[in-house]
């Protein structure tokens, strides 16, 4: 099955980013395709490479970058939401991209499911 994910909250502040990641991991492990993770609202902050959490904590943006690298999952941040919150190409983690909401619509159309995680 092909699955798209919409993530609406920023990293660390809400569990949404963690649940979305754990879900994606499990779906891939079970042989499904996770097509894309689309970041909206504060969710766009998931892909800043400037984050620098404590050593013993998870690194949320690297984790998304890895998911792209290892499993081809598109990691996309909405451009309008990103501009409001200071996310731009200069700070993006490798493997992620800033794009328009048309792309989210395509994701909704071409996948069997679109799952939302947020607050």
């Amino acid at each position: 099955m092909k699955i798209g994910i919409l993530l609406k909250e920023g990293p660390y502040n809400h569990q949404a980013a963690d649940t979305a990641y754990k879900f994606a991991e499990a779906a891939i492990r079970k042989g499904h395709t996770v097509d894309a993770v689309f970041l909206y609202n504060d969710g766009v902050a998931n892909v800043t490479k400037l984050m620098d959490p404590p050593q013993d904590d998870r690194h949320i943006s690297s984790r998304w970058g890895q998911l792209h690298k290892e499993h081809g999952v598109e990691i996309l941040a909405c451009i309008a939401a990103s501009k409001r919150r200071g996310i731009c190409d200069d700070v993006l983690i490798e493997g992620s991209e800033i794009t328009g909401l048309g792309n989210l619509t395509d994701i909704a159309i071409r996948n069997d499911r679109l799952l939302t995680f947020g607050d």
């Binding site: 609202n41 048309g102 159309i109």
Partner: protein, 123 residues
């Protein structure tokens, strides 16, 4: 049973306007999706019904208002606007308090509409 390439996508507005950006950015999403000729609907539940309240004047809080944008949806062929009757009533509001024409439905009717959807996005 309908066009296989057309998806039923429902946007559920559940938050009050202005206190958070969810409804406003939700509306931005809907306006883009409207160009893709999918089967879109909007449902207003809980505090989401406040987004449609007439006479909102946001000048004093310094935030852009957007209630009028709901009126523009018609021009994008987004015509399915449903409001939950209970949510309206417990807030002391009626259809005459809203900026656009909507269809007021019972919760069970909205529940069955939800069940028909391919995608549901809460804002």
């Amino acid at each position: 049973m309908g066009n296989e390439n057309v998806k039923k996508i429902m946007h559920v507005m559940r938050q009050a306007p202005h206190g958070t950006i969810y409804t406003y950015e939700g509306l931005e999403m809907i306006l883009i999706m409207a160009a893709y000729e999918q089967d879109l609907s909007l449902v207003f539940i809980g505090d989401g019904v406040y987004s449609l309240k007439k006479n909102q004047d946001t000048a004093g809080i310094g935030i852009k208002g957007f209630a009028k944008t709901f009126m523009a949806l018609d021009g994008y062929d987004v015509e399915k606007l449903y409001v939950d009757r209970v949510s309206l009533e417990e807030r002391g509001l009626g259809e005459e308090d809203l900026v656009v024409d909507v269809e007021v439905l019972e919760s069970s009717e909205i529940g069955s509409l939800m069940k028909e959807q391919d995608v549901i996005i809460h804002h």
